[in-house]
């Protein structure tokens, strides 16, 4: 399979993934190629697979430029960077990395809730800077028992609910349609959900419909005592609206792992003590990244050996 060209479109630095891909295929790292147009012209015939991630995948333009593309294997569970319609049209297979990262992302969502409400990061700084010697840290807000509203009740949403329940948090949710086999309270709109919970978590896929699902109306409904947690995708949130709401105190706090234009984060948020900002680490553990890499490579191998794909989307 060494002659099969695999184009990695994302600036992935995962050494294990790169190593495993280079062992089996001819790997091209798109991100570090200076003249991409020239490169594509010279190599398009040999490229039969694309490896993408949350940051870059395969849009219509790229798919059009790769006449021999057979499969897109994403190092993520999210598919928002892949033009699925185009893939469907061309008969291109698509795989992702579901299940293996569910626990890590859910753990991080709860970690962000605790960090925001109990000011974990700020109080860590308080000790490190020597301020504790001058006085006690102030009171924070109790997490146990706070109502948690979840947008999207897929694998990750359910995992978040299960954990929050262990903290006696009442759970409510919003999805496109109410789920009959679920015991949590359903709200038919995001605004209603936001108005009826204290912590709102974005845990749905990013699609045309869910872009800016967190807008000014939702933020206002969540209110000055409400906290927003985003472990979905940056574009789920109208970021300038969120920033002004936090700066003006119209929203109680936020824990964000994803942003509109990573790795750029609005600097107005840096000094806010009720905000926790993470560099997109939802699935960022050594154990999970290895499992994700194994899935990416496993899916590619299966495809080129004419075996059933491990985790196909298309």
């Amino acid at each position: 399979m060494e002659s099969i060209g695999v184009l990695m479109t994302c600036p992935l630095h995962d050494p294990y993934l790169v190593e495993q891909l280079e062992k089996r295929f001819t790997l091209f790292k798109f991100h570090s190629i200076p003249d991409k147009a020239h490169f594509l012209n010279s190599n398009k015939a040999s490229i039969r697979a694309v490896v993408g991630s949350a940051s870059a995948g395969a849009d219509a333009k790229l798919i059009h430029q790769l006449p021999n593309l057979e499969i897109v294997s994403s190092f993520s569970v999210g598919l928002d960077k892949i033009d699925l319609a185009k893939c469907r049209e061309r008969g291109i297979r698509v795989t992702n990395t579901p299940d293996v990262l569910t626990d890590d992302v859910a753990d991080l969502a709860i970690g962000l809730m605790l960090a925001v409400l109990r000011r974990l990061c700020q109080s860590d700084r308080y000790v490190r800077s020597g301020q504790w010697k001058r006085g006690e840290y102030k009171l924070t807000t109790k997490f146990t028992g706070k109502s948690v509203g979840i947008i999207g009740l897929g694998r990750i949403g359910l995992a978040i609910a299960k954990r929050a329940e262990a903290f006696s948090c009442p759970i409510s949710y919003h999805t496109r349609a109410e789920k009959s086999d679920v015991k949590y309270k359903y709200y038919p709109s995001v605004v209603e959900l936001a108005a009826n919970c204290q912590i709102l978590v974005v845990a749905c896929a990013l699609t045309e419909e869910t872009r800016h699902i967190i807008n000014r109306e939702v933020i206002n409904a969540l209110g000055p005592k409400g906290v927003l947690i985003n472990i979905g995708r940056g574009p789920h949130v109208d970021e300038p609206e969120l920033v002004s709401a936090l700066v003006e105190g119209r929203l109680g706090g936020a824990g964000l792992d994803v942003f509109q234009d990573e790795p750029n984060v609005p600097e107005e948020l840096f000094g806010l003590e009720n905000v926790v900002l993470l560099p997109h680490v939802g699935s960022g553990t050594m154990e999970t990244r290895k499992e994700m890499a194994d899935l990416v490579v496993g899916n590619l191998e299966a495809h080129f050996l004419n075996k059933p794909l491990l985790t196909p989307v298309l």
Partner: protein, 335 residues
């Protein structure tokens, strides 16, 4: 209020003066709620007086029946002996190591404490510190807010929590709340405690060292006493191994702090999340220099909601005592 109402209130005040309560050092709850407490009780403030404590007690507090104490305010044998009318010590803490319980038992002095009021909040901090230590939340937040994500690229990977074996040291009210929470994250819970708990199905280890050898995370939830002082020593730390993590929401002195610092620096254990230290508010500078450690300024119980509930509990206990009713949260002293 009209003249008659004022006179009536004053009259009541003289007939039923506010009960006196001795306070040796101001409890944290005073900082926020002294006014509310002072509505019902007259506080004799020993720390405010120029007199040394013994003199203050014999001069001003000889007839006092109740003391309001807190977690780090010692109520010694000597103090109790200088107060012949003492009938109650109310502490705002759930820990009791600062009170001479033996002397209380001997004298028939009742003790009321915070019971399990703080347990959820402490458990939340224990879980928070653990997730933070494993997933580098504080470090990651610092990375972003220092502008390093945009300039230096991807942050380093953390470690997965799910599937880990977690050893809880002390399975009291707090330990149980920690276990309940971590089970939902897919952790396997083990524990050690003075006694095995028959109502619990977690595997029990009578020896902390054995517990450490069988798990990757140790969470200290027990109280500080003669048996637990420096219980987490070199042997225990080394037993937990190079991937071991230690979380302390008990008392600093349960861990041999110097030894823990040495183990962290030399990579004998992987990291720590600490809310308590041996010599608060001083934290060893070596800990501050480490990036695999999360530090917290002994505030596991300091939430607005719980502090409010604590004020109600303290007032409720004092009111019960002074009206000869059963205490709301008594400590069982016969053991």
């Amino acid at each position: 209020m009209d003249c008659n109402g004022y006179r009536q209130e004053n009259h009541d005040q003289n007939l039923f003066p506010k009960p006196k309560v001795l306070v040796l050092e101001p409890p944290p709850v005073f900082k926020f709620h002294e006014d509310k407490l002072s509505q019902k009780f007259h506080f004799l403030k020993a720390w405010d007086s120029p007199l040394p404590l013994d003199q203050f007690l014999t001069t001003h507090a000889h007839s006092v029946q109740a003391i309001l104490s807190h977690g780090t305010c010692p109520v010694t044998t000597n103090t109790i002996r200088l107060l012949p009318s003492l009938g109650l010590i109310v502490t705002t803490s759930s820990g009791l190591n600062q009170i001479d319980l033996q002397e209380c038992r001997r004298r028939g002095v009742s003790v009321a404490y915070a019971g399990s009021l703080f347990s959820a909040d402490v458990a939340d901090i224990a879980v928070g510190l653990l997730i933070d230590a494993l997933r580098k939340i504080s470090a990651g937040n610092h990375y972003v807010t220092q502008g390093l994500w945009a300039n230096n690229g991807d942050f380093s990977l953390g470690s997965k929590l799910g599937g880990r074996k977690v050893g809880i040291v002390g399975l009291g009210s707090i330990g149980l709340e920690v276990g309940k929470r971590l089970e939902s994250f897919g952790c396997n819970i083990l524990y050690s405690s003075r006694n095995k708990k028959s109502s619990v199905s977690y595997p029990y280890y009578s020896n902390v060292c054995e517990l450490a050898a069988n798990c990757e995370v140790l969470i200290i939830c027990c109280e500080l006493n003669d048996q637990t002082r420096h219980m987490i020593n070199k042997e225990v730390l080394l037993a937990s191994g190079k991937k071991g993590l230690i979380i302390n929401v008990g008392r600093g002195a349960i861990i041999d702090e110097q030894e823990m610092v040495r183990c962290l620096i030399q990579g004998e254990i992987a990291g720590a999340g600490l809310d308590v230290f041996e010599n608060e508010p001083h934290v060893p500078s070596e800990l501050i220099a480490l990036d695999n450690v999360v530090l917290s300024p002994h505030r596991a119980v300091h939430t607005e909601e719980t502090l409010m509930a604590l004020v109600e509990l303290v007032m409720g206990n004092l009111e019960a005592f002074f009206s000869n009713k059963p205490l709301l949260s008594p400590v069982i002293l016969d053991e």
